[in-house]
């Protein structure tokens, strides 16, 4: 709860008090939302957990960069390269402020959540894990926080332990202390579940792990678009997210790591920018974060992500949070009233996601019917097959919300579900 409370108090520094949150005004920043997707059907975009839409300022930032500032970073003596470098490093600073990290060098640009986790698995895991060591994940992880550790398991002989969840979709932390053996080298868990919407008690998890001297990685992909995150208050060792779910472009994401952790890690990829000096006998690596940013980075993406974050932080975040809570409550209440619908994931603390199944109708068919009504949702296993196995369903339908969604869009979802029943029941 404490991170949520902090989010409510957060305002962008220097921006002054934000205007009260007004969803209609915010929607005007997202031109894509205003379109007919099928004949006579206006787009209702409820697939935000897959990727969010982008505000105009983000598209403008991409255009402006390529139109006026494009050059390689950290290399040129010329003015354009200086400008590109300033903008790129400026984006790093914005992200540092957004996460309330201590230093810019603790922010590493990566492609996204997946690459960030793989980077830690390689840079930390391969460096420090030995056969018999243990990594703890949870039962509700995205595949991107399972597979990299399994690959290490097969390579190094480490073991993977799993924090179980209950039938509401909440982690059972009672057993966590037993999982934290002397051989446990990392706890890597999701902050907010993309399949269920559960907000995990990550402060508590960090405390328990740190009490045993175990570092913690938090997958914040589904948290940062909804709540303010303070990595220092959380005391996370690593915090990772994707830009494209946070109103930014695809192909750019963030690994936050405490400086001493990043410094201890081995590089991920070798090449330009990540080195100090190279001879055929010996290479000295660059300092963090550059040690992990080999090759020409996604400069425009980083800059546009910085812009997305600035846009987000200028909003009345307490208002955003209240709006999103109201949406989730409304959606949950209305879906419960649809005959045959069962909500998957009923944790007390939830954000942004309603997963559900409908008796007698496969989620894939729900998705197609909804699409023809203009309502975009995701159906499938949401890259979280262990969650599906827990609830003994092959797949779910998932509506996921962003700050620009409205109560009338939830009405459209419910009306479209009536159509599903008409066809199948």
């Amino acid at each position: 709860m404490s991170t949520l409370a902090k989010a409510s108090a957060a305002t962008a520094p220097g921006a002054g008090p934000a205007a009260p949150f007004d969803v209609e005004r915010v929607r005007r920043d997202f031109p894509i939302l205003d379109q007919e997707i099928h004949h006579g059907k206006h787009l209702v975009y409820l697939d935000n957990a897959a990727t969010s839409q982008k505000p105009q300022v983000v598209m403008d930032a991409l255009g402006r960069y390529y139109g006026a500032d494009n050059a390689n970073v950290h290399r040129g003596v010329h003015r354009l390269s200086e400008r590109a470098t300033e903008a790129y490093e400026g984006a790093r600073r914005r992200i540092r402020q957004f996460l309330n990290a201590g230093e810019d060098r603790e922010i590493v640009f990566v492609r996204g959540t997946t690459e960030a986790i793989n980077l830690v698995a390689h840079g930390w895991g391969r460096r420090f894990f030995k056969a018999g060591d243990r990594v703890v994940v949870s039962e509700m992880e995205h595949h991107s926080n399972i597979v990299p550790w399994q690959m290490l398991r097969d390579e190094l002989g480490i073991e993977l332990a799993v924090i179980p969840m209950d039938d509401e979709g909440q982690l059972e932390l009672e057993g966590l202390e037993e999982l934290l053996t002397a051989r446990t080298k990392l706890v890597s868990v999701v902050h907010v579940s993309n399949a269920l919407g559960t907000v995990n008690p990550v402060e508590r998890i960090v405390q328990l792990a740190h009490a045993r001297g175990v570092p913690v990685l938090l997958d914040g992909a589904q948290a940062v678009p909804h709540i303010g995150v303070d990595v220092r208050a959380l005391d996370a060792d690593f915090y990772v997210f994707s830009g494209h779910k946070l109103f930014g472009p695809t192909g750019i994401g963030v690994l936050y790591g405490k400086a001493e952790r990043l410094e201890a890690m081995q590089p991920y990829q070798g090449g330009g920018d990540m080195i100090r000096s190279v001879t055929f006998e010996k290479t000295t690596y660059n300092v963090i974060p550059y040690k992990f940013e080999a090759g020409t980075p996604h400069i425009s993406g980083a800059i546009a992500l910085g812009e997305a974050i600035e846009w987000f932080r200028a909003l009345d975040l307490a208002g955003v949070e209240a709006h999103e809570r109201a949406l989730l409550e409304l959606a949950t209440r209305k879906l419960r009233e649809v005959p045959g619908v069962r909500i998957i994931g009923t944790a007390r603390e939830k954000l942004g996601v309603v997963s559900f199944v409908m008796e007698g109708v496969h989620p894939h068919d729900i998705g197609t019917v909804l699409d023809l009504e203009g309502v975009a949702i995701r159906t499938g296993h949401h890259c979280a097959q262990p969650v599906m196995q827990h609830f003994k369903v092959p797949a779910t339908a998932r509506a996921s919300f962003a700050l620009y969604n409205t109560a009338s869009e939830i009405d459209a979802l419910v009306a479209a579900l009536a159509k599903v029943r008409e066809v199948f029941c």
Partner: protein, 150 residues
Amino acid sequence: MSDLRDLYQEVILDHSKKPRNYRRMEDSCSRAEGFNPLCGDQLVLFVKVASGIIQDISFEGSGCAISKASASMMTGAVKGKTLEEADRVFEHFHKMVTGQPGDPFDAEILGKLAVFSGVCEFPARVKCASLAWHTLKAALKGEGQQVTTE
């Protein structure tokens, strides 16, 4: 525009709710599993072939309406056919569901399977419609294969 009823025709809904030849076959001479990782469709297909003719065919599994109906109608369409005939039906079926809306198809060869002609307007559902057929191909090629639509 693509309409709901183009895809979910009555015949398809009927087969998805009451799939034909939906049973295990203990004495099948070959079987194969089909899996569509995108939506979790899963089926096991059992086939009995003698003298180059599909004597019996059945399936079990779970999946969306399209994949279930397709499996159900496929079993009906190929039972009693020679392997070459079954292959030919598959070819025509595959062409129909991956073609452009309005493309001509051979109604004589496809028969009732023509109800799947609307699938081509729903690219995300093509794999659902063809899963059973790919699985049949695998079953006829050899024992115990697993096919996926990916």
